[in-house]
Structures are given as structure tokens and as C-alpha cells.
């Protein structure tokens, strides 16, 4: 029994040492607080898993929502990178794709949806209207850019952007969430 325990301890130490290899740590890292160490080990794992399971919210406003639907169609095939779990409820989703113009009457709903999403949450402003008001910038009922209200991570230009661009935006977001450049480049 004791041998097994010792073995496990040795292996655990090895794992810790391996995971710390190549990272910047103070020399007395092992003497710092335990929580810091666990955080240092867990952070990359959390980032990695977060960046690989970005679930978009099934939420379309206007024209760009049609391209959002085309994003799920066979031509683009978003499923190959794990982006096709469109969720009907904000509580299960990580990414909100604001696809379309946001009017003054729709703004409270968009804000509420964003607040209902659990953290960490990300926003993609998809298309001209969500980015800056687009062709409607002179209208009396339009919010000129969703970033005035909620923080935006990735902006996509185009009217409407092609579905491939949403794919590339999600890959960009994946890089951002993972904290590194991923292999798949758009």
C-alpha cells in the first residue's frame, strides 16, 4: 500500500513539474500559496476547453441572420470545428452573434439576453449594422453600433458578410479565448 502511495506521489510531482516547465515562475514558486499553483495549472486547461466549445446563441435579428442560417448549412459546414451547437436559450450559450440592426425597441431585449448568458460570454458584431449602424445610420430608431451597449470581441464587416466570414470570426474568437494562435487558419 505504502509503495503505491509513494508511486502516486512521485507521479503527481512529475505531472506538476511537467506542467510548470517552460512557464515563467518565481524561483520560490513551490513555496507560494497553493491556490496560485492550482490556478497556474488549471488556467491553460480551462482556456483550452473553453476555446474548443464555443456555443453560439440562436438569435437572429435581420438580414445577417439569414447568413447565420447559411452558416449552419452544408456549404460552410461549421460543424467540423464544433461551432454548430446553436442553443435556443442564453443560459446554455457562450457566444452571442448580433446579426442585424438593433432598434431602440429591441435594445432592452438584446441587453437582457446578454445579461442572461453565463460568464464568460463573448459577443460578435456581425455585419455593418451591428458594428456601426450600417446603412441606417441616419435613422431615428437605430443604435449606431451594439458596442455602445455591450462589449464586443470580434467585429465582422460586410453587408451582409458571407457565412465563411462568420467562420473566420469564430476562429478569431477561439484564438482570443484560448490565448494563443490555433492551428486552423481561415
Amino acid at each position: 500500500m505504502s509503495e503505491d502511495k509513494d508511486n502516486a506521489k512521485v507521479q503527481m510531482d512529475k505531472l506538476v513539474a511537467e506542467s510548470l516547465k517552460g512557464r515563467e515562475f518565481p524561483v520560490n514558486a513551490l513555496f507560494t500559496k497553493l491556490s496560485d499553483i492550482t490556478k497556474a495549472i488549471a488556467d491553460p486547461a480551462v482556456k483550452w476547453s473553453r476555446s474548443n466549445s464555443l456555443w453560439p446563441l440562436q438569435f437572429g435579428l435581420a438580414c445577417c441572420a439569414i447568413e447565420l442560417m447559411a452558416f449552419g448549412s452544408p456549404r460552410v459546414d461549421a460543424e467540423r470545428d464544433g461551432f454548430l451547437l446553436f442553443r435556443g436559450t442564453p443560459r446554455q450559450s457562450d457566444v452571442m452573434v448580433v446579426a442585424g440592426w438593433v432598434t431602440k425597441s429591441m435594445l432592452p431585449q438584446v441587453k437582457r439576453l446578454y445579461e442572461q448568458m453565463s460568464e464568460p460570454r463573448y459577443v460578435i458584431a456581425f455585419g455593418e449594422c451591428a458594428t456601426c449602424g450600417g446603412p441606417w445610420w441616419e435613422s431615428y430608431n437605430i443604435i449606431k453600433g451594439i458596442d455602445q451597449v455591450i462589449p464586443v470581441d470580434v467585429y465582422v464587416a460586410g453587408c451582409p458578410p458571407r457565412p465563411e466570414l462568420l467562420f473566420s470570426a469564430l476562429l478569431k474568437l477561439k484564438e482570443k479565448v484560448g490565448g494563443k494562435i490555433v492551428e486552423n487558419k481561415p
Binding site: C63, G88, W101
Partner: protein
């Protein structure tokens, strides 16, 4: 006991940002109050501040499932005001492009409706793949995937490439073979049939009373189509006839749309064969155009969602007032009447069969 539930404005099955407040008794619907206007951005007012040919891009964003049809409607309204004749080849090309747009629009409707009634991803994937084929052809002809802005006064922005006719006929032959697959998949499926047949019946008299348009009207047994009743372009020469069904339920509306896809396929084929050679280009976009001869015009066109009218009171270089009668707005008023007495689960097939596009009704 009565319960009130709120559906939307963000709901996967409302086809946009439509909000319905439903009063229920058990699971029987007693009252439905639709709330619209979540996409209102004041198009009619914006157009008044623009020169005539600056606006087609705004018009396309009205009905974003079939953008070209509104583009064409607006440009032909301006043409009617200025008294400009459309070139012969351009007439054929416009008809071909509009019918292709109609096919794309109906395929998207089929995809989302099949989703709503429980035929999960099969039809969605098929219809979207075929719609992308149609869009690719339109991209070949106009240079854009979704918003084309291809109509110019008297013609088109650019003529189609040489192989267009050949490609169009190839695609139409493919779709002609493909459609029976959809039909046998859906009409041989008891779930689909049970959820569509006998649901949301719109009587002939009610359809007229509530002013339904398009496939909803034709599903109730009324043979009215602006393409044949108010003949424009060359639909008469191509022996166009409107397709209609008599039963007035959701299944009838589905059948009308499937028939319309078939009619459109035939129209495109015969138009491509009859298309004359020559010039199809319209006037290039200029800020200053000839002054309109007629100060007040009304033009009607059959869009994929129904009949749309545009009423223009023209100033010298810009519209003084542009009124748009949008088919979705009229059809959406039926949500107050059709689901009464139905089950709550039937609300979504009924709503889907009206084919709402909220950008169109909210303007």
C-alpha cells in the same frame, strides 16, 4: 382557467423578432396578440431624403429573404414615374432573376418550416444546399450573393455572362429532379402530415375579408396572382398560370409553394430559351435623373410572400412620399384569427405557413 404566455421576440420558431402574447385555456388558444415593430427603422422616411437611385439598396433590405424582388419593384416604380421603357432582353433577364429569387426564397421557407414541424435537420440541409446552388447562379449573374442592387432604370446593371443560360437550364433540370425527393420525404411522413393537414384553416371568404395575399390567399382556393391578373413583363407570353389549392390549411399553403417552385422552374427554362440577344444595360446610376412625368404612380408586383404595392408621389429628384404595402404585414394580421381554437403546438406551423419576414412588416 386562463393562462397567458409570452412568445418572443427572441424565439427560435417565430422566424424573426415577432412577439406573440397568447391566452390559453388548457392548451387551447383563445386569443393571440401579435406585437411587431422590433425592426422598425423608418425606411419610408429615409427614402424621402435620398435621390431616386440611391434608394434601391434600402429597398432590398425590406425583404431580406428575396431582396431582388423589392429592388425590382422600386426601380419599376421609378420607371413608371419617369416613363422609361424596359429593354426587351432586360425584361427576360429580370423575369429569370426574379423567378430564381422566388425559388431561393421558397426553399428557405421549406427549410425553416420543416424545422418547425419536427422534420429536424434533413430538409434544412437539403433545402439550404439547393438554395446555395441558386444563389451561386445569381452571384454569377449579378456579382453578389445576397444584396444585388442589380436593377437600373430601363435595364440591368450588367448583362449575364455567356454560360449563364446553359448553367441556369442545368440547375433547373437538377431542381426538377430534386423536388420529388422533398415531396416524397415530407408527404410520405405521417408526422409532417398530421401537423400540417387540417391545421389553421383559412376559409375562402375570410381570406378575402382579411386581405391575405400570395400563397396564403392561393392556398384558400382563390386564383389570384399579380403575375397573371395584372400581367407585367412577359408572363403572358410564357403561358404563366397561377397555382392554387382549395383546402386552405397549412398543407395547402405548403403545396402551393411547392407548385410555385415548379412553375418558376418552367418559367426560367422557357425564358432562357426565348431570350433575345441584344442590349440589356440600363442607365448608369446618376444623382440627377430626368424629372418624373407622372407625379403619382402605383405599381404592383407579385413577390414570393405575396402581392406588394408601391405608391410614389414624386418630387423633382426624390420621392415626396413612398408608400409600401408589404405582404408580410397583411398576412401577419392573420395570426389573430387563424390559431383561435387550435392547440398551442399548432401555433408554430400556422405561423410558419404565413411565411413572415419581419424586416418586411416592420419597415
Amino acid at each position: 382557467m386562463e393562462t397567458k404566455i409570452n412568445i418572443g421576440p427572441v424565439h427560435p420558431a417565430t422566424h424573426g423578432v415577432l412577439r406573440l402574447v397568447v391566452t390559453l385555456d388548457g392548451d387551447t388558444i383563445k386569443r393571440v396578440e401579435p406585437y411587431i415593430g422590433y425592426l422598425h427603422r423608418g425606411v419610408e422616411k429615409l427614402v424621402e431624403t435620398r435621390m431616386f437611385m440611391q434608394s434601391p439598396s434600402y429597398m432590398e433590405k425590406l425583404d431580406y429573404v428575396a431582396p431582388m424582388s423589392y429592388d425590382e419593384l422600386y426601380v419599376s416604380t421609378i420607371e413608371a414615374a419617369m416613363g422609361i421603357e424596359v429593354k426587351e432582353r432586360a425584361k427576360y433577364l429580370r423575369m429569370i432573376l426574379l423567378e430564381l429569387q422566388r425559388i431561393a426564397s421558397h426553399l428557405l421557407w421549406l427549410a425553416t418550416t420543416a424545422n418547425d414541424v419536427g422534420q429536424w435537420f434533413t430538409i434544412y440541409m437539403w433545402a439550404f444546399a439547393d438554395r446555395d446552388r441558386v444563389l451561386k447562379l445569381l452571384e454569377e449573374a449579378t456579382g453578389a450573393r445576397m444584396f444585388y442592387v442589380n436593377m437600373r432604370l430601363g435595364g440591368l446593371n450588367r448583362d449575364v455572362p455567356e454560360q449563364f443560360g446553359e448553367n441556369a437550364i442545368k440547375l433547373m433540370e437538377y431542381l426538377d429532379k430534386r423536388l420529388p425527393d422533398y415531396e416524397s420525404f415530407l408527404e410520405g411522413n405521417p408526422v409532417f402530415l398530421e401537423r400540417m393537414r387540417g391545421v389553421g384553416i383559412l376559409k375562402k371568404s375570410d381570406a378575402v375579408k382579411y386581405g391575405a395575399t400570395g400563397p396564403v390567399l392561393r392556398g384558400s382556393g382563390i386564383d389570384y396572382d399579380a403575375r397573371s391578373n395584372h400581367s407585367y413583363y412577359l408572363y403572358k407570353e410564357l403561358n404563366f398560370y397561377a397555382s392554387f389549392e382549395t383546402k386552405g390549411d397549412c398543407l395547402a399553403r405548403y403545396k402551393v409553394r411547392i407548385k410555385e417552385i415548379k412553375t418558376s422552374i418552367n418559367l426560367v427554362m422557357s425564358a432562357v430559351n426565348k431570350m433575345p440577344k441584344g442590349d440589356a444595360l440600363g442607365m448608369p446610376i446618376k444623382l440627377i435623373n430626368p424629372e418624373p412625368k407622372n407625379k403619382e404612380v402605383l405599381v404592383r408586383r407579385e413577390l414570393p410572400r405575396g402581392e406588394s404595392l408601391m405608391y410614389l408621389v414624386a418630387d423633382k429628384q426624390r420621392p415626396y412620399r413612398l408608400g409600401i404595402r408589404s405582404p408580410t404585414f397583411v398576412n401577419l394580421s392573420l395570426t389573430q384569427h387563424l390559431p383561435i381554437g387550435a392547440r398551442i403546438a399548432d401555433l408554430f406551423p400556422i405561423l410558419a405557413s404565413l411565411d413572415p419576414v419581419m424586416g418586411d412588416s416592420d419597415r
